[in-house]
């Protein structure tokens, strides 16, 4: 077990180096001269030289790469180009709002989708099943933008049930007052694909022999669905949910943007709008690390759920 974890961590190093290289090539080679971005409209050659020296972009590429690696290891990416706020501070303060929005969303969404999937799969082939699937397919096709625009307009703006946008300092105010409409929209958008997927996972299990055996020995239908089937179907479901976890770090870009939630996703959009490279670079590298760690955790979790799984 520990040998496995150590080996997996060891294997992450080349991938991580690759990510660093990709980000470096993207931003330092293709990104254009940051001095011109920073100097703005008053492009005084002296000033540009100054900025170049300050950022280290007048050095040869291998020195720049060294600087970048040092920044990653020491978690000190310097300051944002547009607000002069330290990048590490940006990341630390933007994480909270993103998690406030997305952790409840992920939990509710998974519980609702699993419950519905079990119910729909139980009556598979019936009119209810087909109707739900049609609604899911059509619901999936509508752009998330349309959902957000319409929901924000109707529920926040017209009916005034929720604030149109905003964010406070208290966690509970944020969760109850500001995050509830974004979470609701997130649910509407994500239930359809999850339900479709989880339904097939449940359907794969529902025709297995062990279900027939359980029925034959008189296990109640509820117990069959919620204990026998769910336990087996949970393996692919966990895979899917774990795959969604790194998304938590990115936040829901669009939800955060529309509702002015000061989270990571909105920060990324702002950074791209302002060509604020340090912020994007730092985020990309750290999110990649987090993704790899989460993938490892996911594999360890299979083992916990399904003892047959061999970690190799």
């Amino acid at each position: 077990m520990w040998a496995y974890v150590v080996r997996r961590l060891w294997q992450m190093i080349p991938t991580l180096l690759g990510v660093v290289l990709l980000v470096f090539v993207l931003f330092n080679l293709f990104g254009g001269d940051p001095a011109y971005v920073l100097a703005g409209k008053i492009s005084n050659p002296e000033q540009i030289d100054n900025i170049r020296r300050q950022l280290g972009v007048d050095q040869p590429y291998w020195v720049q790469l060294g600087i970048f690696l040092k920044q990653i290891v020491t978690a000190d990416f310097g300051a944002s180009w547009s607000t002069n706020e330290p990048v590490s501070h940006i990341l630390a303060t933007r994480l909270g709002p993103s998690l406030t929005l997305l952790v409840p969303l992920l939990i509710i969404e998974t519980l609702v989708a699993v419950g519905l999937a079990l119910a729909v799969a139980y009556v598979r082939g019936s009119l209810t099943d087909r109707a739900v699937m049609v609604v899911c397919t059509v619901g999936l096709s509508i752009s998330i933008l349309v959902y957000i625009i319409v929901f924000q307009y109707v529920f926040a703006y017209k009916l005034g049930w929720f604030p149109v946008q905003g964010w406070g300092d208290s966690f509970w105010t944020n969760l109850v007052r500001y995050a509830s409409l974004p979470i609701l929209i997130g649910l509407v958008v994500s239930i359809a694909p999850n339900l479709r997927l989880f339904r097939t996972f449940v359907l794969d299990e529902i025709n297995q022999d062990y279900v027939r055996t359980a029925r034959a020995k008189g296990v109640s239908e509820n117990r069959i669905m919620w204990v026998h089937v769910l336990r087996n179907a949970s393996i692919p479901i966990i895979t899917h949910v774990m795959a969604a976890l790194p998304g938590l770090l990115i936040g829901a870009f669009l939800l955060e943007r529309f509702f002015s939630i000061p989270g990571i996703g909105r920060e990324v959009i702002l950074a791209v709008e302002r060509s604020d490279f340090p912020v994007i670079k730092a985020l990309t590298v750290y999110v990649a690390v987090a993704t790899m760690v989460v993938n490892l955790l996911a594999d360890l979790m299979y083992k916990a759920v399904d003892p047959r799984v061999q970690l190799e």
């Binding site: 080349p14 991938t15 690759g18 990510v19 290289l21 990709l22 980000v23 993207l26 931003f27 293709f30 990104g31 254009g32 944002s80 547009s82 607000t83 940006i90 397919t137 059509v138 096709s141 509508i142 752009s143 933008l145 349309v146 625009i149 319409v150 307009y153 703006y157 005034g160 149109v164 946008q165 479709r196 997927l197 339904r199 097939t200 359907l203 692919p236 790194p246 998304g247 990115i250 870009f253 669009l254 943007r257 002015s260 000061p262 909105r266 920060e267 990324v268 959009i269 702002l270 950074a271 791209v272 709008e273 302002r274 060509s275 490279f277 994007i280 990309t284 999110v287 993704t291 790899m292």
Partner: protein, 443 residues
């Protein structure tokens, strides 16, 4: 074409001419027959083909060529709604009789008066001039609005507008008479402002001449451009980007996947390393990072962004297929008759995995259309003088606050229709090409 590699290899040598006629139908013929029986699939295919035909016609300039012409009055409503009461009558709108759907409710009238200005300012600033000759200002809306307004990092470009709107709405709500009830009392404080704006609008309309129509079949946008023509033009952009980017991504994924699966060993290791890099960065973050670097805006840029970042799924599947096929007898036979590696990879194995490629291509088109819409909405996609569903939705967001819903509906519904049809067709295509998979929907 419609044969497996085994057939094309053996038939000339072993099978006499007479027997060749009884050769069983190939994969594609069988798949097409299965698809033909699926009525839903055929309807979806017809819709998809209609959209593609529209894209081609519009691309050739046969339809919707002069979508930039301002044929209607500003925000001309759809014909079936009837002319806008506030446009038609210079008198205060709240009391003007008119079709129920067209006359805005009192509250709407209120904040409309408050709100027209802030948004107008922002847009006027973005366009450079209030009366657009064409949309060739170079700055994307979002990028232009952001740096000016917030240096501290927290204020959304729209926040000011929204706050004003909020304030106006609260103001309208707080007086004793509730909004839905007697309109006259609630409207009074702002009626003057309203009348001014109406007068201004009337003057503006007169200035443009009387050739502009009061209503259009599906309404007009802020500058009086026909929403139907605009939607057709927007569909052209979005569908083109989706299809072109899907081809780029599928090509990259297929070639790399074939190399990795076929050659194995260090080629496989190297390409897998490359794959793990791209797949460990969340897709949307990767797209935005590339968009941040490529400052040049253009339709081809967005095709490249999506294509260069979206190949990983195809790579994984094609690599697995090549791993599976390279040991099969027909490949060994090809080896025995001296076929080169390239010939074995592309002439022998490829036809046997091409159905996987086709299904992936189809899945990617839908995914990329959705991505393009989001990118263009955020202002990282197509340039401002090109219209796409995403940029239409961006405009529609502000328009909805003024009660002008038609552009939102036009862009949203046409996109939903195409995406639904394309997804259903993709499902049917996968079932038809690989009946063993029928019913399983794991993407």
């Amino acid at each position: 074409m419609n044969d497996t590699g085994t057939h094309s290899l053996i038939r000339p040598a072993l099978a006499p001419r007479a027997v060749a006629h009884t050769v069983s139908p190939g994969l594609w013929v069988l798949a097409w027959r299965r698809l033909r029986r699926d009525r839903l699939a055929m309807v979806s295919l017809a819709i998809v083909l209609a959209f593609i035909a529209m894209m081609i016609l519009s691309g050739l300039g046969l339809i919707a060529r002069d979508w930039t012409r301002e044929v209607g009055v500003n925000y001309a409503p759809p014909t079936f709604v009837g002319p806008d009461a506030t446009e038609a009558a210079p008198a205060p709108a709240a009391t003007a009789p008119g079709p129920a759907a067209a006359a805005p409710p009192p509250v709407t009238g209120d904040w409309e008066a408050e709100v027209v200005d802030p948004i107008g300012d922002v847009i006027a600033e973005l366009r450079g001039a209030p009366k657009p000759d064409s949309g060739n200002t170079a700055t994307p809306p979002a990028a232009a609005a952001a740096p000016g307004q917030d240096d501290t990092g927290f204020v959304d470009p729209l926040a000011d507008v929204m706050r004003e709107i909020e304030a106006a709405r609260r103001g309208a709500k707080s007086p004793p008479p509730p909004p839905g009830g007697t309109g006259a009392a609630a409207v009074d404080p702002l009626a003057d402002v309203m009348r001014d704006i109406e007068a201004e609008r009337g003057a503006a309309a007169a200035e443009h001449g009387s050739t502009r129509r009061a209503t259009l079949p599906f309404g007009a946008d802020k500058w009086g451009r026909d929403v139907i023509a605009k939607t057709i033009k927007g569909s052209e952009t979005s569908i083109f980007v989706g299809i072109a980017a899907a081809f780029v991504a599928t090509l990259i994924g297929t070639v790399l996947g074939a190399f990795a699966g076929y050659y194995g060993r260090w080629v496989d290791d190297a390409l897998n390393w490359f794959y793990s890099i791209f797949s460990s960065i969340p897709y949307l973050l990767l797209i935005l990072a590339v968009a941040a670097v490529l400052q040049h805006k253009g339709t081809m840029t967005i095709v490249l962004i999506l294509g260069l970042t979206g190949w990983t799924g195809v790579f994984r599947l094609i690599r697995a297929e090549y791993l599976k096929h390279k040991g099969r007898e027909y490949v060994q036979a090809a080896d025995a008759i001296g076929a080169s590696n390239a010939r074995r990879m592309y002439r022998h194995i490829f036809p046997n995995v091409s159905h996987v490629v086709l299904v992936q291509l189809s899945i990617l088109v839908v995914a990329f259309i959705k991505s393009e819409v989001i990118l263009s909405f955020l202002g990282f996609g197509v340039p401002v003088d090109v219209v796409s569903w995403g940029s239409m939705l961006n405009e529609a967001q502000n328009e909805l606050l003024l009660g002008k819903w038609w552009q939102l509906v036009a862009a949203g519904v046409s996109m939903a229709l195409l995406v639904t049809a394309f997804s259903l067709f993709t499902d049917a295509l996968r079932d038809a090409l690989d009946p063993k998979l029928r019913g399983s929907e794991g993407s």
